[in-house]
């Protein structure tokens, strides 16, 4: 019996605007109108400032843990720009730029990290999901949301973000399998920033690309320069068309780098080479976008000054809104999970006591919760 090749594949890498500002006109011309590039640059700058302020809020005790986004803004922003406003945007926690573009009010992310549940209360008409901190859960949510959209005959798709580390978890493989086998309109975007906290990608993925992890599920897979806004817009657009028109998922590996620590509880200097960080600082998506604007004479020093001033104003107003929100009530911890609160939680809500804290609520149960027997 002769040996024959039954399957062959290759992974393409897409890059349009490189770190030196070199622009591939063949791929990129007309992709984003100039006035939109300006807007995206401004948005990205504001998000960068937001990120720095958020970091300092944590350090001065005004906020809990915070994961810095610095350096990874282009991946989610390019996606948000390429999607429609009523497409699902299902993120983890390093997609602030995309979330804000997609319509999430900026104070929500601060509220979340300040430990206020209302940060995760997504406003009506905003198709974002709460920040997903446990690694991997949101990819399954995206598959489910896409399935529901397809089932209801809606035209929306779901675009989900996760890190390189998440692709080593079962959740990713389950979500990918579901999406591919049920023909669901999902765009999987892996932000490969080389580090799953302190674990380098190369020791948890033996394949040369993370992108090829999607091949096993029969999905089109592509690798893209995740710090290149133009390339991101292109690959997301292609994937969105495939999802919307053909109900087929796509797997995108966006190669990027976080310039800060994993979170404010981390010190990346303990495991990353300074040289590596320096190299990636030069690949900052903000720098190359500025080079592009300069090249096309779309930007001036004066505009930059004005932008920085207004970034400060915007962010300080956002911080003020987040900090001056009315204090949450204790009921908050009960109110956001169940549409109808189960009886045992109703007892806890009325007594503010739990068994688990060693406080037996039984003396109060008879009087205050007679109609709600515990199970």
């Amino acid at each position: 019996m002769p040996v024959k090749t039954v399957y062959e594949t290759s992974i393409e890498h897409v890059s349009i605007l490189d770190e030196h500002g070199k622009f591939d006109a063949k791929l990129g011309e007309g992709l984003i109108p100039d006035e939109d590039v300006v807007k995206l640059y401004e948005h990205m700058s504001v998000c960068r400032h937001y990120d720095e302020v958020a970091f300092k809020l944590q350090r001065s005790g005004r906020m809990g843990t915070y994961p810095q986004n610095m350096g990874q803004e282009a991946a989610s922003l390019g996606a948000a720009y390429a999607l429609q406003k009523d497409d699902w945007f299902v993120t983890c926690y390093r997609e602030n730029a995309g979330l804000f573009w997609h319509g999430l009010p900026m104070e929500h992310v601060l509220l979340h990290w300040m430990g206020d549940e209302r940060g995760n209360e997504i406003p009506e008409g905003c198709y974002c999901t709460p920040l997903a901190i446990p690694i991997g859960t949101q990819m399954l949510h995206a598959a489910g949301l896409a399935w529901a959209a397809k089932y209801n005959g809606e035209n929306r798709i779901a675009c989900t973000f996760f890190g390189d580390g998440a692709t080593s978890e079962g959740d990713f493989h389950e979500a990918a399998n579901f999406a591919a086998n049920l023909d669901l309109p999902v765009v999987f975007v892996c932000q490969n920033n080389s580090w799953a906290i302190s674990v380098p990608t190369k020791i948890q993925c033996s394949a040369p690309t993370v992108a090829q992890r999607g091949i096993a599920y029969g999905m089109p897979c592509v690798q893209v320069d995740g710090n290149d806004l133009f390339a991101m817009v292109k690959v997301i657009r292609d994937a969105a068309v495939r999802a919307r028109d053909e109900k087929r998922p796509t797997f995108i590996e966006a190669v990027t780098y976080r310039l800060g620590d994993h979170t404010t509880a981390d010190d990346a200097r303990r495991y990353r080479d300074a040289d590596e960080v320096e190299m990636w600082k030069k690949r900052d998506p903000l720098i190359r976008l500025r080079l592009f604007l300069d090249e096309r004479k779309l930007w001036t020093t004066k505009k930059e000054e004005a932008l920085q001033a207004s970034a400060k104003e915007i962010v300080s107003a956002v911080v003020k809104r987040a900090e001056e929100i009315a204090e949450p009530t204790t009921n908050d911890i009960f109110d956001h999970t169940f549409a109808e609160i189960p009886p045992n939680l109703r007892v806890q809500r009325s007594t503010l006591r739990t068994h688990s804290l060693g406080q037996d609520p039984s003396p109060l149960r008879d009087t205050q919760a007679a109609s709600a027997p515990t199970r």
């Binding site: 700058s45 960068r48 400032h49 720095e52 302020v53 300092k56 809020l57 944590q58 350090r59 001065s60 005790g61 005004r62 906020m63 809990g64 843990t65 610095m70 300040m114 430990g115 310039l259 620590d261 979170t263 404010t264 509880a265 981390d266 010190d267 200097r269 303990r270 495991y271 600082k281 900052d284 903000l286 720098i287 500025r290 930059e304 000054e305 920085q308 001033a309 970034a311 400060k312 104003e313 300080s316 003020k320 001056e324």
Partner: protein, 446 residues
């Protein structure tokens, strides 16, 4: 969890700088009392057990008081900085606060240039540049000249030398800041201008000082206990004050073992140090004498005999002594031990070792002999109860059955906590280790 700061902005409470951090060491103040700071301006550098971090001011204001000295360990929740009336006034009521905030925003805009520089390409450079200006201490004139070499004529230098005065510490009043003879005399109290009684002692002729730059009290450098050095100091202090140390020493004839080690080297094509052999012997001996494989719980007044053997290995690093632990060392082969030792030593030296790997030891080995020395009185890695130091293996003339022969001995020093280990048991344990090292067939046999 974020800490609730006072609404009147009168003081800044040290927050949790990471996640579940309870204390932090103050490395450096970056502001001085009386200084006006902007919101987000870095006021201090602090080190938690996870990272060295910059602590920014949560609001704009005037610094009234800094609580804590550099090197102090401050507890989360304590007051770090007190602010003066400058910020208090604006924050009392919400409408005023709003007004204050907008003023602050304006001020920030006015100062936009230096902050903006960091906004586009990452904050680090700009922040450091701004704050560097604040780190420079105001020197008083007397110490200001100490940083550089003093200008003075040879005759003035001789006068200073004769009086045992460091001329670099004397403030010069002469032309271009030159130190004059009367400056030196005034400094020692000899001059007419300043006659401080307390200083006259310095005028007593003293032997010529060594030709190095020393301050008057002869101290070249004052180094506060910080970081790893502080941890080492605290741990050793606790051990010596708690455990009752006794040390027993012996020599093992490792002539045969050395031959075996050379053979291993030839077969494997790489050198194996003596340490993994000693570790193997210690694991075997601990199985026979389990009372040395223990921890002490002084709070509960209990001896905890350990079922697993986790061997600590003292590692010398440029930051100081570290003791990584090799878990379940008795389950590892000789070569696995050799590899583990190499790996943990490396990660100690480049400081990538996890905290978890620095705790949980049941017995510690120090191979101080790789640096030199014969016997030692090693300090127990508390709450362990025993530690073995291996000295430098050396060639000796030995005797056996009335015959001389050239052999290699390995000096061994065992310290035990006498509260837990009796002298006889310590000696028996050491004897077992020696016997095993002298009989490589048994040591490596099974």
């Amino acid at each position: 969890m974020a800490i609730k700061q006072p609404a009147d902005k009168s003081h800044f409470i040290l927050p949790d700088l990471g996640e579940g951090v309870h204390e932090a060491e103050l490395i450096r103040w970056r502001v001085t009392p009386g200084e006006t700071v902007e919101e987000h301006q870095v006021i201090a550098e602090m080190e938690t057990d996870k990272a060295l971090v910059e602590v920014p001011s949560p609001w704009a204001g005037t610094i009234a008081k800094l609580n804590g000295n550099e090197g102090d360990v401050l507890v989360v929740g304590s007051i770090l900085v007190e602010y003066g009336t400058g910020s208090k006034a604006g924050a009392a009521s919400p409408p005023k606060a709003a007004k204050n905030a907008s003023i602050t925003a304006k001020a920030a805009e006015a100062n936009g240039e230096r902050e903006d520089a960091g906004t586009v390409v990452g904050s680090v450079d700009a922040t450091l540049r701004v704050s560097d200006a604040f780190t420079r201490r105001r020197h008083d004139p007397a110490t200001a000249t100490r940083t550089g070499k003093a200008l003075a004529t040879p005759s003035v230098r001789r006068i200073a030398r004769e009086r045992g005065v460091d001329i670099n510490a004397v403030a010069g009043t002469g032309r271009g800041g030159r130190v004059t003879a009367s400056d030196v005399l005034a400094f020692t109290g000899d001059g007419n201008a300043v006659a401080t009684p307390g200083r006259t002692a310095a005028a007593i002729p003293s032997p010529p000082p060594a030709p190095v730059t020393l301050s008057a009290d002869g101290i070249a450098e004052r180094i506060p206990f910080r970081g790893v050095r502080r941890k080492i100091a605290n741990a050793l202090d606790r051990s010596v004050k708690t455990a009752v140390h006794f040390t027993v020493v012996d020599e093992a004839d490792v002539t045969a073992l050395e031959a075996k080690r050379a053979e291993y080297g030839r077969v494997l094509g790489r050198k194996i140090s003596l340490l993994p052999f000693v570790m193997t012997a210690v694991c075997r001996a601990l199985r026979i004498h389990p009372s040395l494989n223990a921890n002490v719980d002084d709070e509960q007044a209990e001896i905890l005999i350990k079922g697993v053997i986790n061997l600590g290995c003292a590692v010398d690093t440029e930051h100081g002594l570290m003791v990584p632990v090799i878990d379940e060392a008795d389950t590892l082969s000789l070569l696995q031990l050799a590899d583990s030792v190499g790996e943990v030593a490396r990660s100690c030296r480049n400081r990538t070792i996890d905290r978890e790997r620095l705790v949980g030891g049941t017995f510690t080995i120090s191979n101080v002999g790789s640096y030199g020395g014969m016997f030692a009185t090693p300090i127990i890695n508390y709450p362990e109860v025993a530690i073995l130091a291996a000295g430098r293996a050396a060639e000796r003339v030995l005797t056996k059955n009335g015959m001389f022969y050239a052999g290699v001995i390995l000096p061994l020093s065992l310290s035990c906590d006498h509260r837990v280990v009796d002298g006889a048991e310590g000696a028996r344990f050491l004897n077992t280790v020696v016997k095993l090292l002298e009989d490589p067939e048994t040591l490596l046999g099974d």
